[in-house]
């Protein structure tokens, strides 16, 4: 079968980052007649998630100005996808990587990052991602010369990756049609960078931030900002609106997108599509809503310790 796009030839794996496909959700769209729904497949990045973009940008920018050398260890807190990206590019660029994550992240994440040669340090699962952030800060404060700490929550290269990549690509892919953009808040890099680029567009684009409806939630990768350490890169003035989504709605939509569209997306992506559909249902004909598939659902398949005999 002929592919509609030319096959790429790459000089190294970092060139595989970005230029992700945008796919129309024709089945989900039936719930919002006359409005287009589009999903950007960030899991097509080589590390399998949207996090390849900020991780590579942070590493490249730091290598360019000397903050990151092969004598240093890259260390950061992450419950998974950013860690996979650091590990992948660390291996490709010859940089040692150490990751701090709460011990309750999925086994698959631990195994994937270790496969690239990364060292893992575990923080208290009761303290969540904020506990991992605090532990990294302690470790770096104890030996600042040893580490390069990208700090994805505070590093301007994170939103920059989306400004230069994600936002520009969306405008190239849907052009004049886009009316709305929807993305979840985690580090907030996707929302900040993409929205800033979209806001430069000639026509106003309404940008909606999805966040977990409650502090206690199961939407891995997303943050309930009111109860979290607020990322330094987050500017509340950037999104036009914040839309709360429950864990159950996000999980159920992820299942539905897999069954109806053939796209096996992760829970945060499910929350994004749920948010996009919520926005689309308010619109008149002619709306065009774009959202992000942060990663794939199979990243969540490996059973965690407490799931060993249990199927939800």
């Amino acid at each position: 079968m002929l592919s509609p796009v030319p096959a790429r030839r790459l000089s190294d794996i970092t060139e595989a980052v970005g230029a992700t496909p945008l796919v129309r959700l024709r089945q989900i769209e039936k719930d919002c007649p006359g409005v287009e729904l589009w999903l950007k497949l960030e899991y097509q990045n080589p590390g399998g998630s949207v996090k390849d973009r900020p991780a590579l940008q942070m590493m490249r920018d730091a290598i360019a100005d000397g903050r990151l050398t092969t004598d240093k260890v890259l260390i950061d807190s992450t419950s998974g996808n950013t860690g996979v990206a650091y590990s992948l590019f660390g291996a490709a660029l010859g940089v040692r990587v150490q990751l701090v994550m709460p011990s309750n992240v999925s086994q698959a994440r631990k195994d994937i990052t270790r496969a690239y040669g990364t060292d893992l340090v575990f923080s208290d699962p009761m303290e969540g991602s904020d506990g991992a952030i605090r532990l990294v800060r302690e470790m770096v404060a104890g030996a600042p010369e040893r580490y390069f700490y990208p700090d994805q929550y505070g590093n301007p290269s994170n939103p920059k990756a989306h400004y230069l990549g994600t936002g520009r690509e969306i405008l190239e892919q849907v052009g004049e049609r886009i009316t709305h953009f929807v993305a979840g808040l985690g580090t907030t890099g996707t929302m900040m960078g993409t929205t800033r680029r979209l806001k430069e567009h000639i026509r106003p684009i309404h940008c909606v931030a999805v966040e977990p409806a409650d502090a206690m939630h199961g939407l891995e990768g997303l943050k309930h900002l009111a109860s979290s350490l607020v990322p330094a890169i987050y500017d509340p003035a950037v999104p036009d609106e914040t839309l709360p989504v429950t864990t159950e709605d996000g999980w159920d939509m992820a299942d539905r997108v897999a069954r109806e569209e053939g796209l096996l997306i992760g829970h945060s992506a499910g929350a994004n599509v749920f948010g996009a559909l919520t926005v689309a249902r308010r619109l008149e004909r002619g709306g065009c809503v774009v959202t992000i598939a942060c990663d794939r659902g199979d990243r969540y398949f490996a059973p965690m310790r407490w799931e060993k005999n249990h199927v939800w």
């Binding site: 992240v105 199961g218 159950e248």
Partner: protein, 92 residues
Amino acid sequence: MTIKVRVPTPLRTFTAGLDEVEAEGATVRDVLAHVEARYPGIQARLLDEKGVRRFVNIFLNEEEDIRFLDGLDTAVRSGDALQIVPAIAGGR
């Protein structure tokens, strides 16, 4: 029957910042009801009409998820401890 209940960060807004509270009860259900009586609002974050919410895990003595025991009817004894752990960590 005094049971210790360890509270994760996102729920400490209900417990005035406490990371551990004590409650009475012979089953996990009773213990959570007692916690709710003292810290109103917390139970709705843990349970829905079908039982423990899908993304919430409650462990007995850091060993076994109560899903693999008798669920909310799991018996507890004085000195036992329950840990409430979200299925994920949040942030990425």
